[in-house]
């Protein structure tokens, strides 16, 4: 199963389109190249990106490395990458590796998208 289900550009804030990328199933070394590829494509359209992990069941260190690499690319492009909907199991890996300190993590993608609203202070 491809780790990236789909993505869309949220235009709630006309001045700042936010891309929302949905992950599902398992994300590990065997399929993280797919995330790299899709993320590069998304980054060309928006530098404000949310990765929705609601349907992500399993993540290993390679998958985590891929997400951190995406964050690096987003920051280098002058934007940010925020996460939403981490399941308890996926959150465990973020806590263990201290990766949760690198990301802004929200309960759902709506909250994550809203956090990019330039008119609303976080």
């Amino acid at each position: 199963m491809a780790p990236v289900r789909n993505y869309h550009i949220d235009t709630s804030f006309s001045s700042l389109p936010v891309a929302v990328l949905f992950l599902n199933g398992r994300l590990d070394a065997s399929n993280c190249s797919e995330v790299h590829r899709v993320f590069s494509e998304v980054l060309r359209q928006s530098t404000s990106i949310v990765i929705d992990c609601t349907e992500l069941e399993f993540l290993d260190s390679s998958g985590l490395g891929a997400i951190v690499s995406c964050l690096r690319k987003a920051i280098e492009a002058g934007g940010d990458l925020r996460l939403s909907g981490l399941s308890n199991n996926v959150a465990l890996l973020f806590e263990l590796t201290k990766a949760q300190r690198l990301f802004s993590i929200y309960n759902d993608s709506t909250a994550a998208v809203a956090s990019f609203n330039p008119l609303k202070p976080e």
Partner: protein, 449 residues
């Protein structure tokens, strides 16, 4: 101080009467009870699961000793092989342990009747289906239990404690104050976690394993705490443990036996079960790590990690055999590669390595061909024969796992591929990976060491 010594200290003035009023213990184990422990810590009998580095059964033995019992009978309606292997005759606790089986359908009266000869005319304390009993080793139980009336002492959903056998009220005067004794709630992982922290905090009430020069700090045998590691009380560390530089262990950390905590990792408010490796720069906070499994008692989440460099089970035998087998496969593959590359190497080598400026376009093409055929790695094959280098693997190796993929753009990407392949590789699986690396030489952006 051992439980035996404590018992001698606690024997009061009517010692002669107590010696006559000997106590025995009957431990009843029901196979289907405590199934949550079998699910949480598979492969172990529930009574042998450790809490604060000591099995539940040993805590029951401690209570028996403090209660004045020297003879213990363990009865079960299931397989007792594991229990027998662990306890033998009970000599190491100063106990005389015997075993008996019961039927699943047996009532408590039938169990008593079947063990009537063990009772004889003596007082008996029955620990029915219990995992743990709260007590205080500093209080006196012997006289209290010997002088109490026969009947139920404590009962809860977690099991019960009652007295049976001869009623010795006639020979002993009723003891004034009753010592602390209770059955804790223990039916789920959060309750196990809470009880473990409580035992550690109240360490002076129990007999915990390890050396203890100060309250709240119990250290086992063969524990290496490297310079720069910090240990914060209360903490208990098992036997054969390595704590690497920069680690912070505690407060309220339980580290089992045969554990390695790698550099700069933090373990606080957590339990690391025996035979567990915790990788570098990790944070285990309010969790239970058991082998490659990480559990969060607060949320009930449980994650089976596939990354051996993060969290893994420490095993010995399998790794040794696989290592020998892998080396054999690598040497044979290197021999085939050696035969295939020998003539091209001898033929092309004289034309390679000349200064580029002075060279012609023809020489440059030869150099390209030389690399594309992986002849630049040819001299390293001798190191595979000598056993000092793997043919393919994580760095250092003749060919890196990272060279099997086209996508890695930098060293971090390369390490991701290597970690995945290291975990999922098999000695025979290295052969197709080698062919992939050989065919991928044209595209490879990663260099071998």
């Amino acid at each position: 101080m051992t439980a035996q010594q404590l018992l001698h200290r606690s024997i009061p003035s009517n010692q002669n009467k107590l010696e006559k009023a000997r106590m025995k213990t009957l431990i009843i184990i029901r196979e289907n009870a405590h199934s949550w422990l079998r699910d949480t810590f598979p492969g172990q009998h529930p009574l042998l699961v450790r809490i604060c580095n000591k099995s539940f059964l040993e805590f029951l033995f401690d209570f028996s000793i403090i209660a004045g019992a020297r003879e213990v009978r363990i009865v079960s309606d299931g397989d007792m092989a594991e229990i027998r292997d662990f306890c033998h005759d009970g000599g190491r606790w100063g106990l005389n342990i015997s075993y008996a089986t019961i039927q699943k359908s047996d009532t408590i009266t039938q169990i008593h009747n079947k063990n009537r000869r063990f009772y004889a005319d003596e007082r008996i304390i029955v620990l029915d289906n219990l995992l743990f009993i709260e007590f205080n080793k500093n209080e006196s139980y012997t006289e209290y239990l010997a002088s109490s009336h026969v009947g139920m002492l404590l009962s809860s959903g977690q099991g019960s404690v009652y007295l049976d056998g001869a009623d010795q009220q006639s020979i002993l005067e009723q003891c004034g104050s009753s010592p602390h004794i209770s059955i804790p709630e223990l039916g789920s992982l959060p309750e196990y976690f809470r009880l473990s922290a409580e035992i550690l905090r109240q360490g002076s009430r129990y007999i915990l394993p390890g050396y203890s020069n100060e309250d709240g700090c119990y250290i086992g045998r063969n524990v290496v705490i490297h310079k720069g590691a910090e240990i914060k009380k209360p903490v208990i560390i098992g036997n054969n443990v390595q704590i690497m530089p920069g680690c912070v262990i505690g407060p309220e950390a339980v580290i089992g036996s045969t554990v390695i905590i790698d550099r700069e990792s933090l373990v606080t408010g957590s339990i690391v079960m025996h035979n567990t490796f915790v990788g570098e720069q990790l944070e285990v906070k309010d969790k239970i790590a058991s082998g490659n499994r990480l559990m969060d008692p607060a949320t009930g989440a449980s994650l089976q990690l596939v990354d051996a460099h993060l969290l893994s089970e420490i095993t010995a035998e399998g790794a040794v055999y696989e290592g020998i087998f892998r080396r054999l496969v690598h040497v044979l593959a290197a021999l085939l590669l050696f035969m295939a590359q020998l003539l091209p190497y001898l033929f092309l080598r004289p034309f390679v390595g000349k200064p580029v400026d002075g060279g012609t376009g023809h020489e440059h093409k030869i150099a390209q061909l030389f690399n594309r055929l992986s002849l630049d790695r040819f001299p390293q094959l001798f190191r595979v024969f000598s056993g000092s280098l793997r043919l393919i693997g994580s760095q250092p190796a003749v060919f890196r796992y990272a060279e099997t993929e086209e996508w890695p753009e930098n060293e971090m990407d390369a390490r991701i591929v290597e970690q995945f392949c290291t975990l999922h590789s098999h000695p025979f699986g290295d052969i197709p990976l080698l062919l992939k690396a050989l065919l991928n030489r044209k595209e490879s952006k990663i260099t071998a060491s």
